[in-house]
C-alpha cells in the first residue's frame, strides 16, 4: 500500500511553509489572460437588450432595423414575446456584431414592447397576515422556480418538504425533460407526495411562510430562564461585484462541436450544464479558462446568457461570439446574497448558560424567495422555535455568496448573544466561552476545544482584557470606542477531484487537472503538494488546469477545493514517485522503499553518498514518461486513507471607533484566529483570511443593493455608489492560523468561506459596545447609526 498519508513535519519540504504564489508573476505583469481578455479569430461582440422593468410581459420584439445595420452578424431572441420578466435587467435579445460599438448601436435599434406589471422590490418585514403557509407545489410553481434560476437543490428540497398538487404522467416527464428540466427535479417530483386536493390553489402571495421548526420545550425554557433579551437584527441584500464580469466566448469549430471560454468557478461542470439546453453531447463541448477575475459563488453555471451566446454563435455560422456583462448588468442580474432579518428572543441562566431561542425571521433571495439562514448559529440551544417567511420579489435572482447564509446567521445570532451578554452585564467573550460545549455536534467534535484555544489567542491578540469596557463607557468627546466578537463554522471537505501527473525522462514534471484557480491559490496548492513529495521547488511543476480536456475536478465552491485538489494530487504524486523509485533503485544499489526524494536529489535514506540528481534519476525512466492518476472521492469512506476533513472553527474580534456626530464607523483593528486542519501553504491561507476580513469590513459598513420602490430598478448598479472598501478603509489586521498538533492530523480542510462569516457580526457588536445601543441591520451606514443613537436618546 503506497504511503498516501500527509507527511509529518520532519518529512515536509514545502507543505505548511510559505511558498510564493506561483501565478503572481503573470498577474503582476498583465500576462495572465482572463476570459475577458481572450481574442479569437473573427471575434464578434455581443450586446444584450435588457428589460427596463422589474415585472412585465414581453409583448413584441422587432429586430428588423437592427438586422439591416452593417456589421450585425446574428440576433438571438433569449426570451420571446409572451415571456414574463421578473427583474429589471433580465436578458431579452442578444445582438452580435463586428465590433462592440456596432453591437451597442444595434442593440439600441431593437424595439421591444413591454406590458408593465406590478412589482415588489422591498424586503421589509411582512405585514401581519400577509404571509401564506407554503402548500403543495403546482406545476406552475416549479416552472416559475426553474425560470427564476432557483438552485436545483432548493427546488428538490421544497418538493420533498411540501409535496406536489398534480399527478404527472409519463408524457409530462418526457415533455419536461425535453424542455430542459433537470433530472434531479424530475426525480423529486416522482418521489413527492401528491395532494390532488390542493390543485389550483397555488399561492400567488409574495410572502410564503415555512413550517415552524421547534425542538425542546420552548415555553417551559423561557418560563424558567433567569434572563431574556429581545432584539431585531439583520443583513441587507448585497451583490458579488466580481471584478471580471460574468460572460463567455462561444464558437463552433464545426456544427457538432462547441468551444467555450468562460469566466467560471466550475470548468469541469460547465459542459454538462450546457449540453441539455443546446441539445448536444457534453463530450462535444470543450470549456477553457486560464484565469478568472473573481466568482465568490456566483459563477457555477453557464447562465442563460451563456447558453444564448452559444446559440448566437451558431446563428453567426459558428464564429466566436463574446458576451461579457457590462458593470451595471453585473450588479443587477449576476447574483446577490439574500437578505435575512429576525426578531429574536434569547434566554439564559444568570451565569450566561444559554437555554432557549425563539426567532421570527424573513428575507429575500429575489424571485425564488429563499430559505431560513442556519439560526441559531453555531450554538445548539436545548430549546428553540423558529419561524421564517420568504419574500418573493423582483430584485433579481440570488446566488451562493461566499459562505451562503452564514454571515446573515452570524449577524442574527451573535448580535442577539451580544445583547444578552450586555443585559447580564457580562463580557460577551465570556458568554461565548461559557457556552462552548453547545458548539459540538457530538462528543468527538473537536470544535469546543478549537474555539476554546482560539478564544485565548484572539483575546491576547486584541488585548481584549485591557481594552474591553461595558457598553457606552469608552467615550472620548464624540468618538465612541468598542469591541465586538463573533465565531463561525463551516464544512470544507474536499470535493471529487481527478488528475494525471507525469514525470518525464528529461526530469520535467507536469500535472493536468480540470480545476480552476479563482484567486485562492489553487495552482500553488497543487504545485506545493507535488513538489513537496518530489523534493523539488514549486515552480518546477508545470501545471495544466482550466480545461475540460483534463481530468475533471469539482467546482470551486463551499471551500471544497483545497481538500479535493490536494488529495488527488497527493495520491498521484506518491504513486508516480514510487514508480520512479522502482526505476532508480538498481542504479543506487538499493530497494525502492529505502529511497527518498529531497533537495533535488533521489538518495538512499541516511546515506547521502548514494544519490542521483533529479535529472539523472529521471533519465532512468526509459523512453516513456511515468504517469499516475490521482483521485479523491466525494464520499469520504471511499478514500483510503481519507486526506481531507470537515468542520472548522474560527473566532473574530473587531475594534471600532464611531463618530457619534456623523454616524461614521471606522474599524480600527480586526483579529482572526482560524482553524482549517492541515495547512498546505500558510501564506496562501493568511491571504485568504486577510481578504475575507477586508470583504467583511466592506459588507459590514458599505455594501447594499439599493432598489428603487417606484421603478423597481437597482439604484447603485455601478462602483461609485455600490461602495467597496478601499485601501484607506483597512485597519490593522491580525491573523493567526491554527497549526500543529490537534490541527494538522485532521487533514486538509477548505478555507474560502469560514473567515468571511463573522466580520459583520463582530463589527456590529463592536459598534453596539461603543455607542451603547444596537444598530439592527448591516451595513452600518451613518444614517442607521444616527437613527439608533437618536432612538437611544429618545428612549
Amino acid at each position: 500500500m503506497p504511503d498516501y498519508e500527509w507527511p509529518d513535519p520532519e518529512h515536509r519540504t514545502l507543505i505548511g511553509g510559505r511558498t510564493l504564489r506561483v501565478d503572481s508573476p503573470d498577474k503582476v505583469s498583465g500576462r495572465a489572460r482572463y476570459t475577458y481578455d481572450t481574442k479569437r479569430p473573427g471575434l464578434l461582440y455581443g450586446k444584450v437588450v435588457r428589460s427596463p422593468y422589474a415585472s412585465c410581459k414581453v409583448v413584441s420584439i422587432d429586430t428588423t432595423a437592427a438586422e439591416k445595420m452593417p456589421g450585425v452578424k446574428a440576433i438571438e431572441i433569449v426570451q420571446k414575446a409572451g415571456s414574463t420578466i421578473h427583474w429589471a435587467g433580465d436578458d431579452i435579445v442578444i445582438v452580435a456584431a463586428v465590433d462592440e460599438a456596432t453591437a451597442e448601436d444595434a442593440a439600441r435599434a431593437v424595439k421591444v414592447k413591454y406590458q408593465k406589471m406590478a412589482h415588489l422590490v422591498s424586503d421589509a418585514e411582512p405585514p401581519a397576515g400577509a404571509a401564506e403557509a407554503q402548500g403543495p407545489l403546482g406545476m406552475d410553481d416549479i416552472g416559475d422556480m426553474l425560470d427564476n434560476q432557483v438552485p436545483d437543490n432548493q427546488i428538490v428540497q421544497q418538493i420533498g418538504q411540501y409535496g406536489v398538487s398534480f399527478q404527472a404522467t409519463e408524457q409530462d416527464y418526457k415533455d419536461a425533460k425535453e424542455e430542459g428540466v433537470p433530472d434531479a427535479v424530475l426525480d423529486a417530483v416522482r418521489k413527492a407526495t401528491v395532494h390532488p386536493e390542493a390543485a389550483g390553489k397555488t399561492s400567488k402571495s409574495n410572502y410564503q411562510k415555512a413550517a415552524t421548526q421547534t425542538s425542546g420545550d420552548v415555553d417551559k425554557a423561557f418560563a424558567e430562564s433567569e434572563a431574556v433579551s429581545e432584539g431585531l437584527y439583520g443583513a441587507s441584500v448585497i451583490v458579488h461585484c466580481c471584478m471580471e464580469s460574468h460572460g463567455s466566448i462561444s464558437e463552433w469549430p464545426d456544427p457538432e462541436h462547441l468551444f467555450v471560454h468562460m469566466s467560471t468557478q466550475n470548468v469541469s461542470g460547465i459542459a454538462g450544464q450546457m449540453a441539455e439546453p443546446l441539445k448536444m453531447q457534453a463530450s462535444n463541448i470543450r470549456v477553457h479558462q486560464d484565469h478568472v477575475g473573481g466568482g465568490f459563488g456566483s459563477k457555477f453555471g453557464p447562465d442563460r446568457w451563456g447558453i444564448a451566446t452559444a446559440e448566437t454563435s451558431r446563428k453567426a455560422g459558428g464564429k466566436p461570439v463574446r458576451v461579457m456583462l457590462e458593470r451595471d448588468a453585473e450588479l443587477k442580474v449576476a447574483g446577490a446574497r439574500p437578505s435575512a432579518y429576525a426578531r429574536v428572543k434569547v434566554a439564559a441562566k444568570k451565569d450566561g448558560t444559554l437555554t432557549a431561542w425563539q426567532s421570527n425571521s424573513w428575507g429575500t433571495g429575489g424571485p425564488g424567495g429563499g430559505g431560513m439562514p442556519p439560526i441559531p448559529y453555531v450554538f445548539r440551544f436545548p430549546a428553540q422555535k423558529k419561524e421564517h417567511t420568504a419574500i418573493r420579489n423582483n430584485i433579481g435572482p440570488a446566488r451562493a455568496w461566499r459562505a451562503p447564509n452564514h454571515p446573515q446567521a452570524a449577524v442574527i445570532t451573535m448580535c442577539a448573544l451580544d445583547d444578552l451578554a450586555a443585559k447580564l452585564n457580562m463580557d460577551p467573550l465570556e458568554l461565548l466561552r461559557k457556552n462552548v460545549d453547545l458548539t459540538g455536534a457530538n462528543p468527538n467534535d473537536p470544535r469546543p476545544r478549537i474555539y476554546t484555544e482560539e478564544f485565548g489567542i484572539a483575546s491576547e491578540m486584541m488585548d481584549w482584557k485591557t481594552k474591553w469596557r461595558p457598553r457606552g463607557q469608552n467615550m472620548d468627546g464624540h468618538i465612541a470606542r468598542g469591541l465586538g466578537a463573533s465565531i463561525h463554522t463551516w464544512g470544507g471537505r474536499g470535493h471529487a477531484s481527478d488528475c494525471d501527473l507525469s514525470i518525464h525522462p528529461d526530469g520535467s514534471v507536469d500535472l493536468k487537472m480540470g480545476t480552476q484557480d479563482i484567486g485562492t491559490g489553487t495552482r500553488t496548492t497543487i504545485a506545493v503538494v507535488t513538489a513537496d513529495a518530489l523534493g523539488l521547488p514549486a515552480e518546477a511543476i508545470k501545471l495544466y488546469i482550466g480545461d475540460t480536456q483534463y481530468p475533471p475536478s469539482g467546482g470551486s465552491g463551499g471551500s471544497t477545493t483545497p481538500g479535493g485538489v490536494s488529495s488527488s494530487t497527493r495520491r498521484a504524486v506518491v504513486d508516480a514517485r514510487d514508480a520512479l523509485f522502482a526505476k532508480v533503485a538498481p542504479a543506487l544499489n538499493a530497494k525502492p522503499e529505502e529511497l527518498e526524494a529531497r533537495d533535488g536529489v533521489i538518495r538512499v535514506k541516511g546515506d547521502s553518498s548514494r544519490s542521483l540528481s533529479w535529472k539523472e534519476a529521471c533519465s532512468k525512466i526509459g523512453a516513456t514518461a511515468i504517469t499516475a492518476h490521482g483521485h479523491n472521492d466525494s464520499v469520504a469512506a471511499k478514500n483510503k486513507p481519507d486526506l481531507t476533513n470537515s468542520g472548522v472553527g474560527g473566532v473574530q474580534l473587531a475594534e471600532v471607533e464611531v463618530d457619534t456626530e456623523t454616524g461614521i464607523v471606522k474599524v480600527k483593528k480586526m483579529v482572526a484566529v482560524q482553524d482549517c486542519g492541515l495547512i498546505i501553504d500558510v501564506r496562501m491561507a493568511e491571504s485568504s483570511v486577510l481578504g475575507a476580513l477586508i470583504m467583511s469590513i466592506s459588507y459590514a459598513l458599505f455594501e447594499e443593493k439599493v432598489m428603487d420602490p417606484t421603478t423597481g430598478i437597482m439604484l447603485n448598479a455601478d462602483m461609485e455608489f455600490y461602495r467597496l472598501a478601499g485601501l484607506n478603509d483597512i485597519p490593522e489586521l491580525a491573523v493567526r492560523m491554527m497549526t500543529g498538533k490537534g490541527y494538522d492530523e485532521r487533514g486538509v480542510i477548505g478555507l474560502g468561506e469560514p473567515p468571511v462569516i463573522s466580520g459583520g457580526a463582530a463589527i456590529s457588536n463592536a459598534v453596539a459596545n461603543a455607542i451603547g445601543v444596537r444598530v439592527p441591520f448591516i451595513p452600518l451606514t451613518p444614517d442607521r447609526v444616527l437613527a439608533a443613537l437618536s432612538q437611544k436618546a429618545g428612549a
Binding site: G30, M243, E244, G294, R327, S698
Partner: protein
C-alpha cells in the same frame, strides 16, 4: 445619435438634450470632439459652442498611437476609448475593463508620465501622447521592483485589479521617488480590489518605500 449626424449648427448642449438615448461613448465623443489631434484629410467642420471644430467620424478614422515606445496605427471610430483600443485592437489586455467609468482604476495606464483611467480617455485624444501600459514594466523578463514587491507580499488573489494597482503605484513613484507610506496610500486610493488584497498591497508599498523602485 451623434454630433456629426447633424450638419446644422447645434450647440453641444442642444445635441445632448435632443438625444435622450445618448450613450456614454457618444457623450465622450461629443464632449471631446474639439480635442481631435492630427486630422489626416481636411475634415468637415461644424459650429459647436460658438467655435468651428473639425468633425471626425462617425466612421473609422486613421489614428496613430505611441504605446510602450512603439508607433501603432489603427483605423478606429472616434468614439473608441483608449482602453478598448489597447485591449481590442492592440491586444494589450493587461489594463482591465471593470467599471468602465473611472471608478475602479483597473484600466490605469500612464499617459505622458501621469496615471490615467484608460476607460475615460478616447483613443483619438491619446494621439501624440506617450502611452505606457503594464506590459512594458518588466524589462527583458525582469519584473519591475513594484511588480516584484507585489509578488513578494502576495498582493494579488484573482489578480484582475492587480495591473491597475501596479500602474498607479509606478506612476506615483515616478512623480515622488521617495514617497511616504501615506503618499503611497493616497496614490492608490483610486483603485479598488474585491478579493481584499489591500494588506498585501500595503506590504508591497512598504517594501517599495523601503527599498526604492
Amino acid at each position: 445619435m451623434s454630433a456629426d449626424d447633424s450638419n446644422s449648427s447645434k450647440s453641444k448642449a442642444a445635441v445632448l438634450e435632443e438625444s435622450s438615448g445618448v450613450s456614454r461613448r457618444d457623450f465622450l465623443k461629443i464632449s471631446t470632439i474639439a480635442a481631435a489631434v492630427p486630422a489626416v484629410a481636411a475634415p468637415p467642420t461644424v459650429l459647436a459652442a460658438g467655435e468651428e471644430v473639425p468633425v471626425l467620424g462617425p466612421g473609422k478614422v486613421p489614428m496613430e498611437l505611441t504605446i510602450n515606445g512603439k508607433k501603432m496605427k489603427a483605423s478606429l471610430e472616434p468614439r473608441v476609448t483608449l482602453l478598448d483600443a489597447l485591449r481590442d485592437t492592440f491586444d494589450l489586455t493587461g489594463a482591465k475593463r471593470i467599471c468602465d467609468r473611472a471608478e475602479c482604476g483597473a484600466c490605469t495606464v500612464m499617459m505622458d508620465d501621469r496615471a490615467v483611467y484608460a476607460c475615460s480617455v478616447l483613443a483619438i485624444e491619446a494621439q501624440g501622447k506617450k502611452i505606457t501600459t503594464i506590459e512594458a514594466l518588466a524589462e527583458s523578463g525582469k519584473l519591475h521592483p513594484v511588480q516584484q514587491a507585489f509578488v513578494d507580499n502576495d498582493a494579488s488573489q484573482c489578480g484582475f485589479c492587480t495591473p491597475g494597482f501596479v500602474m498607479a503605484c509606478k506612476a506615483l513613484l515616478d512623480q515622488h521617488p521617495n514617497p511616504t507610506e501615506e503618499e503611497l496610500h493616497r496614490g492608490l486610493s483610486g483603485n479598488l480590489c474585491r478579493c481584499g488584497t489591500y494588506q498585501g498591497i500595503r506590504g508591497a508599498m512598504a517594501q517599495v518605500a523601503r527599498k526604492g523602485a
